[in-house]
Structures are given as structure tokens and as C-alpha cells.
Symmetry: C2
Subunit: 216 residues, 2 copies
DNA sequence: AAGTGTTTCAAACCTACGTTTGAAAACTGC
DNA sequence: GCAGTTTTCAAACGTAGGTTTGAAACACTT
């Protein structure tokens, strides 16, 4: 039994500590001591710290992306146009449906996604685009489809704008939620933030084009 | 002459390397070797790496924030309501007006801002809110004022959404601009991205409230 | 019970880093 | 041109990190 437990203990601790402090700032010693396993276990089971980082992402992104891909598959059969809100909510619902391994798991999930983009771990970006790029491209294709008439240039940038909104707000969510409550009496949780994102992003995507591409 | 040149050479190199690789990932040896100064110079002139990081931010944020504060001051005299777009453009114009110390300086500027939020350097966040929190609060007050009728809860989160959009898109701008050109034939520059943000953010801020706070 | 492969463990290795030191060099004011 | 201050420099210090090692402990088959 203690065979795979070591691996999972390491992944659990690494996931949490990475989310809290970042990759470079989290030492293998901190992880193994939190996980109550020997220091050498990481290199034995994962090979290196880099591969551990990738394993942490793989563990929750594999099922998540597979599920998302399945939903996109089902949708593509009936190809009637979807509203922007529907496409956005598809993703929100998928994220909220992540079965929590521990309380506050979605926050950790999102924080890791944020770190993946903001910490410059080249190997991680390569790993993520290689593993999940196709599914993400498919999702954004659907999103494009829900914004007919919008120039690709605006669509391109706006998809990064919404990505930034989501990652930024989510990855700082613990702190931001606390401030919201303390200073403004706003009693939200992670789910509430994600619900609030939808109308904001939908309206942003629907905004008039910045300027007509080939304005005559 | 070489008195203050050492300090500036260090700041120049640090600014660039921090923006490229992050704080923890940039060693003092990398900085001093790039700046062609002695390793000990950083500790001599700045005291520590932490203080160097703060100095890098201070050098461009001091004049920037002073200018922004001045503009807000001028505006507050005539207190007629401003449109959302005007408030957003005020900031965009201030950013674009940063006099570039080198080509691509705005990208570096924005990338550093992104790092300030995403890397967990407690001392830096403390330094930034202490030094510039008042001005920023003033700006967001103006932004709130341009969205009458929007519940504070939505306003609160949406201000983080736009912050995330800006920081995310800008801090990855070099890479994203290259992809835009290569894969989509979009020939934008930093200024174009910032201009594209305005209608997106304005529409997002104007979107209907997520749900009425005390819906009867 | 012996043998084989797997997993754990304490210890060490080696590198990279931030910082300190003490002397040399450069600069300043007189 | 000299005393005093400031700045530069090469070298070293101490620490913390990722990784490796070789033996011990364990598990599983026959």
C-alpha cells in the first residue's frame, strides 16, 4: 500500500506548496518534509523537480482536459451557433465541477494555472501546450464562433484579455476574497467570482471592434 | 562621473533581467556581469537584493505615479462625470507617455508590474502599496464614479478583471505579438494592444450587474 | 526460506547564491 | 600633494538547494 502513497503524498504537498509560494521558492526539502517522506523520494519517483512540477499539473489537468474535450466533442455534433455566455459558462461549469481533493481545491487549481503562465518555466509551458494545446485550441474555436463579425485581430487579443482576467483574479483569489469581505462586506466565494466573470467577459467580447481592419 | 553610472548600470541590467526571468531566477551575478560592474557593488549601493528590486520599481514608478496623481488632481477640480472610456484612456495615455529609456520599454514596464503581482515577494507588495497605494485608490475612485449604478461587489471584481487583462496581455506581449504576426498576420505593437483594451474593458465594466445584491 | 526487484533512508556531493571583508583605487576638498 | 572619504575589486564565507549514492528495509515470487 505504501507504494503509491508516497507518490501521492508528494504530489499533494507539492501542489499545495507550489500554489502557495511558487516553483522556485518551494524546495524539495520543504515538500518532502511536509509530505513526511524522504528527500530522495522525489528524484526516485519523478526523476527531477521539473518532472515533479509537470506531474502535479498532469494529475489534475489530464482528467479536466479530457472532460472538456468530451464536452466539445458532444457540442460539435449539433453545430448551431452558441451565445458567448454559453461558451464561457461551459468552461466555468467544468472548472467548478472539478472534484475537490481538499477544501479550496479550485483556488489551488487556478493559482497553479496562473503560475504556469507567469513563472517562466519554459519546460512547463512546453509541456502544457504539447499536452493540452489541441483541446484549448478547440475551445477557443468555439468561442470565436460565438462572436460573428468580430475581426480576428480583436478576437485574438480579447481571448488573452479574458484569460488574463481569469488567471489574475483566480490566482490571487484567497487574498482578494479576504479583502472583499473585510473592506467591502462582500461575502463571495470562488464560485461567485467565476459567475461574475461571465457577464463581464461576454460584454467585453461583444464590444464593437476597436477599429475596422481595412476601414475604407 | 562613474559615481552614479554604476548605480544606473545596475538598475538598467536588473530591470531588463528581472523582466525577462523574474526576481528569484535572476542572480546578482547575472546582473553585475551584464552591467559590467563588480559583484559587491549591488550590496554596496543598494544594501540587498530586495532593496535593489524596490529601487528598480521606484525609478520608473516615482515619476509615473507623480504624473498620474497630477492628472487626477487636475480632473478633480471640475467634477463632472467622466465616461468609462475617458478614465481608461487617461491611464493608457499615461503609460504610453512613459519616456522610453530603451526600445520596448513599455513592455518591460508592464512585465515588471505583472511580476510584482504574481511573484510572491511580500516586501515588494508592501513597498508598492505604501508608496503608490493612495494614487491608485484615487484612480479607481474615478473609475468607480464612471460606472454609476453598478453594485460595489461587481465593481470590485471587475477592477481586478481589467487589471488582470492588462497585466497578463502586456507582460506576455513580446511573445504574443510575435505569435499574432506569424500565425494571424496581425501587425500590432504595444500601443495597439492597449488601444484594443479600452473598448473591451469599457464594455465589460458597463455590463449588467451579475445579480442584484439584495434582489427582492 | 531464498532470491529478486523495488522502495526507503541517511549521508554526502556539488553547485549556485547572497552577502561580507579588507585592501586597493579613485575621487574630493583643502 | 596630501588626508579623508567614497567607490571598486578579488576573494572568501556560509548557506541552501537539487541531485547522487550505497546500503538497508521491504515486497513479492517460487
Amino acid at each position: 500500500m505504501s507504494r503509491s502513497t508516497t507518490v501521492e503524498r508528494i504530489l499533494d504537498s507539492a501542489e499545495l506548496l507550489f500554489a502557495e509560494h511558487g516553483f522556485a521558492e518551494t524546495s524539495l526539502r520543504a515538500i518532502t518534509s511536509d509530505a513526511k517522506v524522504n528527500l530522495a523520494a522525489v528524484n526516485y519517483h519523478f526523476g527531477s523537480k521539473k518532472e515533479l512540477i509537470q506531474a502535479v499539473f498532469g494529475r489534475f489537468l489530464d482528467p479536466f482536459m479530457a472532460g472538456l474535450d468530451q464536452s466539445l466533442e458532444n457540442l460539435s455534433s449539433d453545430s448551431k451557433m452558441m451565445e458567448v455566455e454559453e461558451v464561457l459558462e461551459l468552461l466555468v461549469n467544468h472548472i467548478l465541477a472539478v472534484k475537490p481533493r481538499r477544501p479550496n481545491d479550485i483556488a489551488i487549481f487556478m493559482r497553479l494555472m496562473g503560475l504556469a503562465y507567469t513563472q517562466n518555466q519554459g519546460h512547463l509551458k512546453r509541456f502544457l501546450t504539447e499536452s493540452y494545446g489541441a483541446t484549448l485550441a478547440r475551445y477557443f474555436e468555439k468561442l470565436y464562433g460565438s462572436c460573428p463579425g468580430l475581426p480576428v485581430s480583436d478576437m485574438y487579443w480579447r481571448s488573452y484579455f479574458i484569460l488574463g482576467s481569469a488567471i489574475f483574479a483566480m490566482s490571487g483569489s484567497e487574498a482578494l476574497l479576504a479583502i472583499a469581505k473585510r473592506d467591502h462586506g462582500i461575502d463571495d466565494d470562488i464560485e461567485a467570482i467565476m459567475r461574475r466573470m461571465v457577464p463581464f467577459m461576454a460584454a467585453g467580447l461583444r464590444a464593437h471592434a476597436t477599429y475596422d481592419e481595412g476601414h475604407s
